[in-house]
Amino acid sequence: MSGFDIGGMRLIEIALLVAAWSVGLSMLMAVWRLLRGPTVPDRILALDTLNTTAIAALVLLGMYLRTAVYFEAALVIAMLGFVSTVVLSKYVIRRDIVE
């Protein structure tokens, strides 16, 4: 990989850092909504957003370290996140998970 330098840093490194900062800020905003509420579906939605942004953060970490080992972790987080969203919503709707 040759370089495309801006002020001593590679363009793609700068883009990676900007993306990582915005994803971290998004996670903080989701945590704020998780703590604030005010209703239960709001908290479920905040947890779902945290799952999605955690996938983004793991993918960015893998790009930053130039390794592909974080792919499996991201896939597991995606699957568990979907299941947890469904189960929490189901519990709110029916007050029962396994019927």
Binding site: S2, F4, V18, M29, T49, T52, I55, G62, T85, V86
Partner: protein, 137 residues
């Protein structure tokens, strides 16, 4: 790959990364700023999913470019997210509907407490007039 090609590819990947992180940020910001649940539901389930899709596409290109992972395995996560995001949003909307979130009064704020006014949005009981008649009689 020629150096010009590499630079074009790098600019393309950086643009994908910036667009993706912008959409993730917009989704989370709408989660904080919008006034009620059914409006908040739109941001994370649509904008954030699209943003993460862009980031995963950038990751596929980056790993192919660097040579650390030749197979586009991130497509699995992208497809899975794009299938499951509407299902999750639908279930969360049903959960909110079953709780009747939209008809609930707002929580009292500190300003309301200071003013000492009655901020209750609870409608009067249907038999309030009967109770008053019995009490006055």
């Amino acid at each position: 790959m020629s150096p010009t090609m590499e630079i074009v590819f790098e600019i393309l990947l950086s643009a994908l990364l910036l667009i993706g992180s912008f959409f993730v940020l917009v989704g989370a910001y709408s989660l904080v700023r919008l006034p009620d649940f059914f409006r908040r539901l739109h941001g994370p389930t649509k904008a954030s999913t699209l943003g993460v899709g862009c980031l995963l596409a950038a990751s596929i290109g980056f790993h192919a470019f660097v040579g650390s992972d030749p197979q586009p395995r991130e497509l699995l996560i992208t497809v899975f997210l794009f299938i499951t995001a509407p299902i999750g949003a639908h279930l969360m909307a049903k959960a909110a509907l079953s709780l009747r979130v939209d008809t609930r009064p707002d929580l009292p704020t500190a300003a309301d407490d200071d003013a000492g006014t009655d901020v209750s949005d609870v409608p009067p009981r249907p038999d309030a007039r009967d109770i008053a008649e019995v009490r006055d009689a």
